[in-house]
C-alpha cells in the first residue's frame, strides 16, 4: 500500500515533503499521513487520485479544518563547555528531553506541531546540529465527531499548503 501511494506521487510528479505510516485501532486498516505542496489544481488531483486507489478507504484533506498535528524529532546537538548551558535551557523551554549524553553532544527528543519544531530547530541550529531525523507529521481532526462507520475511517491525510 505504501509502495502504491509513493508510486502514485512519484509517477505523477506530486511532491512528498513527509510521509508517516502506521496501524490504527482497526488491525485491518492503517493510516498514512502525507505532507505535500502544490497549486489548488494539483492538490485537487492528488486528493482524487488517492481516492481512486482501490485500497484507499478515505482521504482527508486537513487544509481547511481544525486539526492537531505532531511530529517527533531526534536532534544530535553540539554541547561543548560554552554552549552546554544554553542548549539545556533551550530544551527546557521547548519541553524537549535529553535522551543521550556524551562529552561533546546531546541527543534531544522533541515533539510538537510544525511551528514548534521549526522554532526549536532555528534556535538550535547556530549552536551546531550534528545529526537530525524526523518522523514526519501525523494529524487528527479536532472535536467529537466519531468515525461514521467501520468503513469511513481516516485512511490518509494530506496537509496541503497551496504553494505554487
Amino acid at each position: 500500500m505504501l509502495a502504491r501511494v509513493a508510486g502514485l506521487f512519484s509517477g505523477r510528479g506530486f511532491n512528498i515533503e513527509s510521509l508517516c505510516v502506521g496501524e490504527t485501532q482497526d488491525p485491518e486498516m492503517s493510516t498514512m499521513t502525507i505532507v505535500t505542496t502544490g497549486s489548488d489544481a494539483i492538490l485537487e488531483q492528488i486528493f482524487k487520485q488517492l481516492n481512486k486507489l482501490v485500497n484507499v478507504i478515505k482521504v482527508t484533506d486537513f487544509k481547511d479544518t481544525e486539526y492537531v498535528s505532531r511530529e517527533m524529532v531526534l536532534v544530535k546537538v553540539n554541547a561543548e563547555e560554552r554552549t552546554r548551558e544554553e542548549v539545556l535551557r533551550m530544551i527546557e523551554i521547548f519541553r524537549g528531553r535529553v535522551v543521550d549524553v556524551s562529552s561533546r553532544s546531546y541527543i534531544v527528543e522533541i515533539t510538537g506541531n510544525e511551528e514548534k519544531i521549526k522554532a526549536f530547530l532555528a534556535l538550535v541550529r547556530p549552536l551546531g546540529i550534528k545529526e537530525l531525523v524526523r518522523t514526519g507529521s501525523v494529524a487528527m481532526i479536532r472535536g467529537e465527531k466519531p468515525p461514521r462507520s467501520k468503513d469511513r475511517q481516516s485512511k490518509g491525510g494530506s496537509d496541503g499548503e497551496g504553494v505554487l
Partner: protein
C-alpha cells in the same frame, strides 16, 4: 473433497463465465496448464505474451466481456507490460494471470522471477499476489469485479507455483465487497438539472463524446438526446461508433487529425457537453486556446478525469448511460423550454453545414492507389458491418477518418498508449469472440511486423482475420512529421528490408494477396473476405501520402494544416 490451487483457479474462471483464455505457458504455470487440459475453456496458445494480452483486450472491446490472459513468471510476465499498459490507457477490462516462483523464493532472484506486481503497479487498475491458496477464490472474484466495474481497467493476479499446488476446499463467494472501492454511477441530480438549463440557453452547443459512451453502452441514449435537441456530435478516436458515423449530425472525429468541421465547431462553441471523454491532448490541441468561448459540462465516471486538463463548469460524476437518460427525461419534462430549441440554434446549425460542405475530408484521386480509397472500399464491401482493428500511425488515422463506424464496438484501436503491433492480436481476440464476423486489421508495414508471429495463432485456431497492410515502405507517421517539421530528414524511418508478405503468409499456411493498382482493390478484397482463411493483403501505396488535416504539436485546434 479438496482441490489444488490450479483446479480452484479453473473452477473460479468458470464461475466468472470465462470461455476463452489467451495463453503462453511456462514452468511456473505447469499445474494450471494441467488443470486447464480438457476443462472446456478454450485455450488459445499465442506466440508472444504481448499478443496474449492484446488478444484478451480485443476480445473484451468487441464483446463487452472481461478478456483473460495467462502467462508464466519472469519474462512471460514482463512481456505482458506493454499489453497491460495499452489496456490501462484505454480503460479495457482485462485480467492477466501470471505464474510466480514459489512463495519461499520470492525476492531471492530466483530463476524466471520478476517483481511483476511492482512493475505493473502504475499501469494496472489494481493487482494481487496470492500468498495462500485460501485467498484464491476471493481474489479472482475481486479481480473480475474491479476489471469490469466503474472505469474498467486491467487487473493482474500473480500466482506462485506452490500456491497452485496447495490443497483447499472450493467455495466461490456469493458477494464481492472491496472496501474503499465504490464507483459512483448515479450522477448528481442537481448538477444534471443545471446542465440542462445551461444547454437550453446555449446558441452554439456541441456534444463531445468519447470511449465512455462505448463502455457505458450509452449509444442509444446519446443518439436520442442529440436528435431530440438537434445538437451536432463529435467523437474522439475511442468513441467512434458511439454515434452513427453516417448520421447527418455527426461532425467527424475532432483533434490532431480530426475534421475541419469538428475542430471549428469545438473552437467556436459556447457550450460543450463532454460525455465519457477525458480532454486528452490529442483532442484538445493547445489547452489555453481550447474552446475559448465555451462553458463546459463534463459527464464522466472517473472523478480524476474531471478538471484535470481543462477546468470545467458543470462536473457530473456518473455513468454516461444513466446521466444521458436523466437528461432525456428532463428534455421531455420541460417540453416548453426546449420546444423552439432547433430554431434557437438555427444559425449555428447553418454554420456547421457550411463548414461540412466547404471543408469535407478529402484526398486526391488521380488513379494511383490511395490508402483512403482502400479503406472506403473495405467499408462498402463489408456493408459497414465489420469489426475493424487498426495499428498505430497513418493507418490508424486514415481508418478513423474514412471508415464510418455505425455502431459501438466496431473499432479496436490503441488510442491512449498508441501501441504499434496491437491491431493484429486484438483482431484475433475479437475473431475468437465472434467466429462468424468479418474482422479486418488495417495495418502499416511497420506495425504488422511487431506481432507478425501471430499468423501462426490465427492459422492454428482457425481465426480468419484479414490484415490489410498499407505498405509504404516506411514508418509513415514519423516520416510525415519529418517531412513537415524536420526538413525532410528521414531519419530512421525507412524500412529498407521488407519481407514479401504474400510468401510470408503462405509460409505460415495463411493466404497472401497483393494489390498494386486501384482497379484490383475490389476483386482482391472480395476474394479475401470470402476465403475463410487468415489473410495478409499487401497494398502498395506511396510514402508521400499524408494524413490531413493535422494540428501541429503545441498548436490550437483551429490552426490545422489542411494540405
Amino acid at each position: 473433497m479438496k482441490k489444488n490451487g490450479a483446479q480452484i483457479f479453473v473452477e473460479s474462471l468458470k464461475m466468472e463465465g470465462v470461455d476463452t483464455i489467451f495463453c503462453y505457458p511456462g514452468g511456473a504455470v505447469l499445474h494450471i496448464a494441467d488443470a486447464l487440459y480438457g476443462c472446456g475453456i478454450r485455450q488459445v496458445l499465442v506466440r508472444h505474451e504481448q499478443a496474449a494480452v492484446h488478444a484478451a483486450d480485443g476480445y473484451a472491446r468487441a464483446s463487452a466481456r472481461v478478456g483473460v490472459a495467462l502467462v508464466t513468471s519472469g519474462p512471460g510476465a514482463t512481456n505482458t507490460v506493454t499489453g497491460i499498459a495499452t489496456a490501462y490507457m484505454d480503460s479495457v477490462p482485462v485480467v492477466v494471470f501470471s505464474g510466480q516462483v514459489n512463495t519461499a523464493l520470492i525476492g531471492n532472484d530466483a530463476f524466471q522471477e520478476a517483481d511483476i506486481i511492482g512493475i505493473t503497479r502504475p499501469c494496472t487498475k489494481h493487482n494481487y499476489l496470492i500468498r495462500d491458496v485460501s485467498e484464491m477464490t476471493r481474489v479472482i472474484k475481486e479481480a473480475f469485479y474491479i476489471a469490469r466495474s466503474g472505469r474498467p481497467g486491467p487487473v493482474l493476479v500473480d500466482i506462485p507455483k506452490d500456491v497452485s499446488a496447495a490443497l483447499a476446499d472450493f467455495r466461490y463467494p456469493d458477494k464481492v465487497f472491496v472496501r474503499g472501492y465504490q464507483p459512483n454511477y448515479a450522477g448528481h441530480p442537481g448538477q444534471i438539472k443545471r446542465a440542462m438549463k445551461l444547454i437550453a440557453s446555449s446558441k452554439k452547443p456541441v456534444l463531445y463524446t468519447g470511449g465512455g459512451i462505448i463502455t457505458s453502452n450509452a449509444s442509444k441514449e446519446l443518439t436520442a438526446l442529440a436528435e431530440r435537441l438537434h445538437i451536432p456530435v463529435t467523437s474522439t478516436l475511442m468513441g467512434l461508433g458511439g454515434f452513427p458515423g453516417n448520421h447527418p449530425q455527426f461532425l467527424g472525429m475532432l483533434g490532431m487529425h480530426g475534421t475541419y468541421t469538428a475542430n471549428m465547431a469545438i473552437t467556436s462553441s459556447d457550450v460543450i457537453i463532454a460525455v465519457g471523454a477525458r480532454f486528452d491532448d490529442r483532442a484538445t490541441g493547445k489547452v489555453d486556446e481550447f474552446a475559448p468561448h465555451a462553458k463546459i459540462i463534463h459527464i464522466d465516471i472517473d472523478p480524476t478525469s474531471i478538471s484535470k486538463n481543462i477546468k470545467v463548469d458543470i462536473p457530473i460524476v456518473g455513468d454516461a448511460k444513466n446521466v444521458l437518460r436523466r437528461m432525456l427525461q428532463i428534455a421531455e419534462e420541460e417540453k416548453e423550454t426546449f420546444a423552439g430549441f432547433r430554431h434557437h440554434i438555427a444559425d449555428w446549425l447553418k454554420q456547421v453545414e457550411e463548414w461540412k460542405t466547404n471543408f469535407p475530408l478529402s484526398y486526391i484521386r488521380n488513379g494511383t492507389l490511395k490508402p483512403q480509397y482502400v479503406i472506403e472500399r473495405i467499408f462498402d464491401l463489408a456493408k459497414g458491418r465489420a469489426i475493424i482493428a487498426t495499428e498505430v500511425g497513418q493507418n490508424q488515422m486514415w481508418t478513423a477518418q474514412f471508415y464510418k463506424f455505425l455502431v459501438p464496438r466496431q473499432i479496436l484501436t490503441s488510442g491512449g498508449l498508441g501501441t504499434m503491433g496491437y491491431g493484429f492480436p486484438a483482431s484475433i481476440g475479437a475473431q475468437a469472440a465472434y467466429p462468424n464476423a468479418l474482422v479486418v486489421d488495417i495495418a502499416g508495414d511497420g506495425s504488422i511486423q511487431m506481432n507478425i508471429q501471430e499468423l501462426a495463432t490465427a492459422v492454428q485456431f482457425g481465426l480468419p482475420v484479414k490484415v490489410v497492410i498499407l505498405n509504404n515502405g516506411c514508418l509513415g507517421m514519423v516520416r510525415q512529421w519529418q517531412e513537415l517539421f524536420y526538413g525532410k530528414r528521414y531519419s530512421i524511418s525507412t524500412l529498407e528490408c521488407m519481407p514479401n508478405f504474400v510468401k510470408l503468409a503462405e509460409a505460415y499456411g495463411a493466404a497472401g494477396y497483393e494489390i498494386e493498382h486501384e482497379n484490383e482493390v475490389d476483386r482482391v478484397l472480395k476474394k479475401a473476405f470470402s476465403n475463410g482463411k487468415p489473410t495478409l493483403i499487401d497494398v502498395h501505396i506511396s510514402p508521400d501520402e499524408g494524413v490531413y488535416p493535422i494540428v501541429p504539436s503545441g498548436a490550437a485546434l483551429r490552426d490545422m494544416l489542411l494540405v
